[in-house]
């Protein structure tokens, strides 16, 4: 027969073996004032809950270390607990970082699928969507034209003229066209155009969309029955696609023309501009006619979507100093991913 004192001992023993969360919860209880604040600011509330969870975990660690005193080899047991604990924190850190980047890539993929599917429905191309498409197309084409022409001229001056000059000196003039196709048209121009588009318009999109998200305009859009995905993300993605392609073609043409002009003036090249362009065209493989435009189209499309998503996911505590660099690095990552993928395959 077990008497009442034995009963008490058994209970206390059992409590020692299990982590009593309720006791700790009493210490970490969220007050009613904090709940009321949470109703007004959910992000702050999440932060508070996370902090309290961290405190709870810390308490759990000290509880486990105390428990280890009762084990046969307390020192080794404690070491084991600490090593496993640190390893878990390390895994948590890696997982968090990977999930953040993968999350963005998955968001971009999901949104891209959404944009492509929604674009097929005619009712999504209403006046408001068309207005936004034309506005952004004008902004990105008109705004990016001068930068593109200028950058293309500099590229032509530096790359084309140097390539023509040095290849001529080494007696490899016949290799000029294939090298220019590879270096300028296939590799450099998608990166340069992507960066111009990102810097000139992508970052602007990040700023505009973040203002819409933090200012409550996206909610207002929803409340009057206007889907922001259809009226903002969809037209911007296509406008960026079209302007990326157009600017890419301008970039290629201008850079080759400037390069030709400089080398012609210096006397390194004697042929006419038409035969120079003709050489370039003939040195392009059939796949180049597909992959080069595709690079422009896909990187423009992804810059549009990536910028909008980065902006629209902005929280109230985000400000331009954190958001714009984030938008820029993400955009650069997307441009490089597209270029590297195409380079690997072709």
């Amino acid at each position: 027969m077990i008497n009442s004192s034995n009963n008490k001992n058994l209970t206390s023993d059992r409590n020692d073996k299990t982590f009593n969360k309720t006791e700790l919860n009493d210490q970490n209880v969220i007050s009613s004032t904090q709940v009321q604040e949470a109703v007004k600011n959910p992000d702050k509330f999440v932060e508070l809950v996370n902090r309290q969870e961290a405190e709870l975990n810390q308490n759990y660690l000290s509880w486990r270390l105390k428990q280890a005193d009762k084990a046969s080899f307390p020192f080794f047991k404690k070491m084991e607990i600490i090593v496993v604990w640190s390893f878990l924190s390390f895994i948590h850190f890696i997982g968090k970082s990977v999930r953040s980047y993968c999350g963005f890539l998955l968001d971009v993929l999901g949104a891209s699928y959404g944009v492509i599917i929604e674009s097929f429905f005619l009712y999504n191309w209403r006046r408001t969507t068309r207005y936004e498409f034309v506005r952004i197309l004008g902004q990105s084409l008109g705004g990016g034209l001068f930068s593109t022409v200028f950058t293309a001229s500099l590229t032509g001056l530096a790359v084309v003229s140097q390539a023509v000059y040095w290849l001529g000196l080494t007696g490899l003039s016949k290799m000029t066209a294939p090298i220019l196709v590879t270096v300028i048209l296939r590799e450099l121009s998608p990166i340069f155009v992507g960066m111009i588009l990102l810097g000139r318009n992508g970052i602007l999109s990040v700023a505009e969309c973040s203002l819409l998200a933090t200012g409550g305009q996206l909610r207002t859009y929803n409340s009057i029955g206007i889907d922001p995905f259809v009226t903002i993300v969809l037209p911007r993605a296509w406008a960026f696609t079209v302007s990326s392609f157009a600017l890419g073609m301008i970039f290629g043409t201008v850079s080759l023309f400037t390069g030709y002009l400089v080398t012609f003036i210096l006397g390194s090249i004697k042929t006419s501009i038409w035969s120079f362009y003709s050489d370039i065209l003939f040195s392009m493989a059939a796949w180049d006619y597909v992959t080069i435009p595709l690079k422009f189209l896909i990187s423009g499309f992804l810059i549009g979507i990536g910028s909008c998503i980065t902006g629209m996911n902005a929280k109230e505590y985000d400000d331009p100093s954190t958001l714009l660099p984030k938008g820029f690095t993400r955009g650069i990552m997307l441009i490089m991913v597209v270029n590297v993928l195409f380079t690997l395959d072709f």
């Binding site: 007004k40 408001t128 207005y131 203002l211 207002t220 409340s223 009057i224 029955g225 206007i226």
Partner: protein, 235 residues
């Protein structure tokens, strides 16, 4: 003759606590065509959340919200957005999109939801602008407009296109002297053509001149939505 079918019905609706700023209780409300309900609510966040509930933007734990006899919870896009297009709203926060000129901001709902000729929409908006003492449709960016002009423009946008339901969050609170006459005239016209109206207010006295047209006075607070009887304030 106004057809007396229910315009908006909130039936034992309990919003999900995590997804709304409303008190955790059940809500019941019936708005018939031509009704004008004034809800006294001190907290702007709660009133916005209740307006969102009426617009079917808040997921419910129990109950349902019907608008034009259609359950918000069962509607899918694009019908969901199209139905929301039948609601005229004045919001407290985030009403204007700075990247668009004011004219587009005002015409946005009609440009999106209808195929009406731009000329017709513009002329209707122009008339409303004159009614609210604006010299015409503003074309500047919302940033460059004074707060009273923004309030006037908000009224124009809400009444534009003769919506079935009007949800106003504190429309006269700061500009009663300038806006009350045109606003109440338009409100009366909307009621006469059969629109349902829900107005949130902090000061009941603002509505003293319109009390004969108000069908219900209510309170929105921690206990939920309660009927507050008739308006009895010495003016």
């Amino acid at each position: 003759m106004i057809e007396r079918t229910t315009l908006l019905e909130i039936q034992d609706a309990m919003p999900l606590f995590e997804e709304s700023n409303l008190p955790p209780c059940t809500f019941n409300l019936k708005v018939m065509p031509g009704d004008c309900i004034i809800i006294e609510c001190r907290d702007t966040v709660t009133s916005s959340a209740f307006a969102d509930l009426c617009s079917g933007m808040i997921p419910l734990e129990t109950g349902a919200v019907y608008f034009n006899n259609l359950d918000w919870g069962k509607l899918k896009e694009p019908r969901l957005s199209a139905l929301r297009g039948r609601i005229g709203r004045i919001t407290q926060k985030g009403s204007w999109i700075d990247m668009y000129p004011m004219s587009i901001n005002i015409l946005l709902p009609l440009l999106h939801h209808t195929k009406l000729d731009l000329k017709d929409i513009t002329s209707e908006a122009m008339e409303l602008c004159y009614d609210f003492d604006l010299p015409g449709i503003p074309i500047d960016s919302p940033r460059h407009l004074s707060s009273i002009d923004l309030a006037r423009a908000a009224c124009v946008r809400a009444f534009l296109g003769q919506p079935d339901l009007l949800l106003f969050e504190y429309p006269l609170e700061n500009y009663a002297a300038e806006l009350s006459v045109p606003f109440m005239t338009m409100l009366n016209n909307a009621q006469n053509r059969g629109a349902g109206i829900i107005c949130f207010t902090r000061q009941l006295s603002i509505w003293s001149n319109y009390r004969q047209n108000v069908t219900q006075w209510m309170n929105l607070q921690e206990r939920g939505l309660t009927v507050s009887g008739s308006y009895n304030v010495d003016v």
